[in-house]
Amino acid sequence: MRDANESRAIQIEELTAGFGSFTAVRQVSLRIPPNKITAIIGPSGSGKSTLVRCLNRLHEEVRGAWMQGRVRLGGHDIFATDVDPVQLRRRVGMVFQRPNPFPTMSVAENVVAGLRLNRWGRPAGLDDRIEESLRRAALWEQVKDKLHVSGASLSGGQQQRLCIARALAVEPDVLLMDEPCSALDPVATFKIEELMKELAEDITIVIVTHNMQQAARVSDYTAFLMMGEDRAGELVEFGPTDRIFTNPSDKRTEDYITGRFG
């Protein structure tokens, strides 16, 4: 069991990444514990999104993007030559700021879109996989009678949970969430947060958020990034969320979370 959990741990070693001549994050070293929710917080432009996009190699898809350092998932270097980025992204799923279901696909097709992208064809028990994924995303009860309507017809919160179901369908070890609730109302936000707590029993979750209260509510650990003098994002502090939000070690963290800058 312990080994199984360790396969979901992420070790970031001296990660520096940027675009062209611009360095977005510099020298970040961090261990993201398995089966926990880790929040990445920091002011706009501090490199939060760039950091998480390095974790599933989405960063390198951007023109001019570059990175140095290492990221290990379960001890294995994700930048090793034998690692297929598509396979990696199956293990490290991602949910974005705005719900982005495929508009021309039905609810059910959206859920299995990831499986098809991974060239899994039509695996046995596909319907079971759809139901299970929607149940894990706490969406099944709302959509079980409209699996064949367009995913875009759902409410914003339901669309975001559909995107989570889509990510879960390929059974990831890690789920990266980049501001997943910023476009949602409070009720939908709380549903996503509850869902995150449940999912963390099986997977590792990394959430980027601007919402301090959300980070405090949902995460087990918090990493605080801020820009250095040359605007590159640096890790200021990482630790258990309880401590970060009640008694941070670094004054810059204190000033940021108490709203005195940022």
Partner: protein
């Protein structure tokens, strides 16, 4: 200019805490003064005045809860508010001790004091002084002062033991003085507890500054006679 509204509200809460503190300080001294003068009417006024202390305590609590609900304070700000919530409870209880002394005064009716009060006013003044400086330590976030004040509790405990021994000699000399001696012992006990609660405030000062929950151990029972 960042979070100016919040800063002002937090400052206002701390200002109100000092107002509450001064009401309690006054009640401590006044409770002993009216006892000294066997001023039963004064004791009744003091009991009625405790309502003001209670209302102020609830007003501060409400302001704290509003700030938590509307501003989501974090870190040092959150610790400050948590400390204020604890300190107002301590102050309100100290007010109750002063009210208790006023009640004892009324209970004593027409009976004269067993002896002129010497050490009891000293206890009251010492407890008041400790409280005043503890609140000062909170406002100034002075950890050194917060650590020093509880050590002075021994002085209050010493006065309590002295009063106890003295009253015992009165009882032994004339067993009919038991009631009158007991009343004064209750008064001394209330003052001793008041000083103990100052230690709790000092612990909150340290918590506010460092986030550490420390036991300052000022809450010792006064010798073997604690009651």
């Amino acid at each position: 200019m960042v979070r100016q509204t919040f800063e002002q509200a937090l400052q206002q809460i701390q200002d109100e805490l000092l107002v509450l503190g001064s009401l309690v300080e006054n009640a401590i001294i006044e409770s002993v003064n009216v006892l000294k003068n066997r001023d039963v009417e004064g004791a009744r006024r003091l009991i009625a005045g405790d309502q003001q202390i209670n209302e102020k305590r609830f007003a501060i609590e409400t302001a704290c809860l509003n700030l938590i609900a509307t501003q989501q304070p974090m870190a040092g700000d959150l610790r400050t508010i948590a400390a204020v919530l604890e300190i107002v409870t301590e102050l309100e209880r100290m007010g109750d001790y002063a009210k208790g002394i006023a009640r004892i005064n009324i209970m004593m009716g027409e009976e004269p004091l067993l002896k002129p009060l010497v050490d009891i006013p000293r206890m009251a003044e010492k407890a008041r002084d400790m409280l005043h400086r503890a609140l000062d330590a909170f406002i100034r976030r002075d950890v050194a002062l917060a650590r020093a004040i509880p050590t002075e509790d021994d002085e209050v405990d010493g006065l309590y033991n002295q009063i106890y021994r003295e009253l015992l000699t009165f009882i032994m000399a004339d067993p009919r003085s038991i009631d009158r001696a007991t009343h004064l012992l209750w008064v001394a006990h209330n003052l001793e507890r008041t000083a103990d609660r100052v230690t709790n405030i000092c612990e909150r000062v340290i918590f506010t500054v460092s986030g550490q929950m420390v036991e300052l151990d000022g809450d010792t029972q006064p010798g073997q006679y604690g009651c």
